[in-house]
């Protein structure tokens, strides 16, 4: 097996030269066709000697066909290996450059060594420092692992073709001409497509994807969209293309299941009363409605990316970005909460996210940065639904944090995957509402690379200590509106309103020092209302302008009076 150091030394150019050379050699061999035809035994010559000559001549023709087929197979194999090595070299160069930028050394054996100069760190930010180091080290180790996996795969596939050629195992497909033999041989020289790593981290997935040539990536999108549609660490554009292609197959499968269940019910005298078919039919219909909602949203004007499409659980899961998460300077991921569903909530939340994107981008354009923004609605978990009678929190049906825990285990890699898939990390913000803030709070207790968080209307973040929320110190924000009962529950950890170290930002009516008046949000569901203080606060954090946040006493975080005049800094 090649080591990482070996792969560093691999060169596509000699492989390319081999292909060029084999092109010429194949032409020369196929060029023997005329002579071979002319060398045929005359029809009028018969007898033992003639028969012997005829057999000898047929053998010559046949062995040349096999040789040509083998040469064609090798030519194809080396050509594919050359492209693959080229892509792999780019990936390795990128990995080495990440290492160098971050003061790590990758040894020949692939081990990653922290080589950062010893410097004093601000004790207030020491946790972030070590989290960042750990993340980069993990990224490098995973990328090295994937480069070696890919390199081993290229090497063993190519070796397979070369050995088959050597052992005469490339057949000519029953060809009767050298040209046909050439074509038949080429068909046997292709290298296999390597699938994604099993249970890979977002960095593994990113490393795998990065190691593929563009042609290989496109082939995977076309032939195996289910490999990458939901694979964290793969760029948004590829996931989007794959998931859009999957919409049709998912719909066909659900329609088939619906018809099956309907037929069962029609055959059953008792209707669905004594079967579970009724319940499943409802679930299948809701999933079909979810596909409608997704397609409806994707059809709206402006760039969108379908980053998640999963019909395997009880309710549909999906994530849709406004904008492009691969290129945006600022990316926000919004996790909604209680009662959220794809069929019922995607359109409305997407509208809120589209408005947030618009407000933030216009603000960035006016203040000079001009940065681009992508906002993602992530319904990638089974948000709790109302129980019979519409009760969420009562003594009989105690809401558990189970789906928030499971959701967090999906959200954390989703967030991490956005950084992992990009050469330069965006300013990444996690937004969590209601039970979605519990999910987000739990996810951010992992090492996600998220730069800022805004929680709003939260029944708890799954911790009592803001230090467990792994965003840089000072970058966790909490908004709670008046009369938000859910926000006062303190059900999953203390009410974040009382959490030390949390930035308590406002949902109240506000007049900013610049004269702007913003409206109050009240209750549990008005945090993203247009022109509200709450929405404004979300937009300035998402746009990387946290110094403009309005805190709960109506003043800006920091000294509001010393805000610099825009355009002068």
């Amino acid at each position: 097996m090649p080591t990482y150091g070996d792969i560093r030394k691999w060169q596509p150019a000699p492989l390319e030269a081999t292909v060029t050379g084999l092109n010429q050699r194949c032409d020369e061999l196929v060029g023997l066709s005329d002579e071979l035809t002319a060398s045929g035994v005359p029809e009028g010559w018969t007898g033992e000697a003639a028969d012997g000559a005829r057999a000898e001549r047929d053998r010559l023709q046949n062995s040349m066909e096999l040789l040509v087929a083998a040469a064609a197979a090798v030519r194809r194999g080396v050509a594919e290996a050359s492209d693959a090595v080229e892509a792999l070299k780019h990936s390795v160069a990128e990995t080495d450059s990440i290492a160098e930028r971050n003061h790590f050394v990758i040894r020949e054996d692939g081990s990653v060594v922290d080589n950062a100069p010893v410097t004093a760190h601000d004790p207030a930010h020491i946790d972030e420092y070590f989290r960042e180091r750990q993340r980069v080290q993990q990224e490098l180790a995973d990328r090295v692992e994937q480069a070696v996996r890919r390199g081993t795969d290229i090497d063993s596939d190519l070796a397979g073709v070369l050995r088959a050629a050597e052992k005469g195992e490339i057949n000519d497909g029953g060809a009767t001409s050298l040209q046909d033999a050439l074509n038949a041989g080429a068909g046997q020289g292709g290298l296999s497509t390597i699938g994604p790593p099993e249970d890979g981290s977002p960095y593994d997935n990113a490393g795998w994807w990065d190691s593929l040539s563009e042609a290989e990536q496109q082939a995977i999108i076309d032939e195996h969209p289910e490999w990458i549609g939901n694979l964290d660490g793969v760029p948004g554009e590829a996931r989007d293309e794959a998931n859009r292609a999957r919409l049709e197959t998912e719909r066909a499968a659900l329609e088939a299941r619906r018809d099956e269940l309907q037929a069962d019910l029609d055959d059953n005298w008792f209707g669905g009363t004594f079967t579970s078919a009724d319940a499943e039919l409802d679930a299948v219909n809701a999933k079909l409605d979810s596909l409608d909602a997704i397609e409806e949203t994707l059809a709206r004007p402006g760039e969108r990316q379908l980053l998640l499409l999963d019909m395997s659980d009880e309710r549909a899961e999906a994530a849709i970005a406004n904008g492009n998460i691969d290129t945006a300077d600022h990316v926000a991921v919004f996790t909604p909460g209680l009662t959220s569903t794809v069929d019922g909530s995607m359109g409305g939340y997407d509208n809120s996210m589209a408005q947030l994107q618009f407000r933030t981008e216009e603000e960035l354009a006016r203040y000079g940065d001009g940065g681009s923004v992508a906002t993602v609605t992530w319904i990638g978990y089974q948000a709790p639904q109302l129980s019979v009678g519409g009760v969420l929190f009562d003594s009989n049906s105690v809401l558990s944090d189970g789906s928030a825990q499971r959701g967090a285990d999906s959200l954390a890699p989703f967030l991490n995957g956005i950084d992992a898939s990009r050469d330069t990390d965006p300013n990444l913000t996690a937004l969590g509402h209601s039970y979605g803030s519990t999910t987000t709070g739990l996810a951010l207790q992992q090492n996600t690379g998220v730069d800022s968080a805004v929680f709003f209307g939260s029944p708890g973040l799954g911790t009592n200590d803001v230090d467990n929320i792994n965003v840089p110190t000072g970058n966790a924000h909490y908004i709670e509106a008046r009369n938000d009962a859910v926000g006062d529950l303190g059900y999953f950890g203390i009410d974040p309103s009382h959490m030390d170290g949390m930035n308590h930002v406002s949902a109240g009516e506000t007049t900013l020092p610049d004269g702007r008046t913003l409206t109050e949000s009240t209750g549990h569901s008005a945090y993203m209302d247009d022109s509200s203080t709450s929405q404004y606060n979300l937009s300035v954090v998402v746009g990387g302008m946290p110094d403009r946040v309005v805190t709960d006493d109506g003043k800006g975080f920091g000294d509001i009076l010393s805000w610099p005049v825009p355009g002068t800094y």
Partner: protein, 96 residues
């Protein structure tokens, strides 16, 4: 006298085979894959390519030799018929 035409045809076939043998001998197929091993250190493909280079050099050489032998055989047979009209009458019977 049809068999004389056939003998000419045999000579032409022998000549073509001889040319094929000559041209094939110049095709350096094996040498092309010798570039692979230094380009991919540490793997299995390099060794496989080196083995293939040897196998192809031998295959091309053998083929050329065999094509040459065939050429010689056919040519020799044609010569033989010129000196032995009875054999020719028998072996080109179908031409009459």
């Amino acid at each position: 006298m049809g068999y004389e035409v056939e003998i000419e045809a045999m000579r032409a076939a022998a000549k073509a085979a001889g040319q094929a043998a000559e041209q094939a001998a110049k095709v350096e197929l094996g040498a092309e894959v010798e570039r692979i091993a230094p380009a991919l250190p540490g793997g299995q493909a390099g060794a496989a390519a080196t083995a293939l280079a040897t196998a192809w050099e031998r295959a091309v050489r053998n083929w050329s030799t065999e094509a040459g032998n065939y050429s010689t055989n056919v040519s020799g047979s044609a010569d033989g018929y010129v000196g032995a009209e009875d054999d020719a009458t028998a072996d080109f019977g179908a031409v009459r």
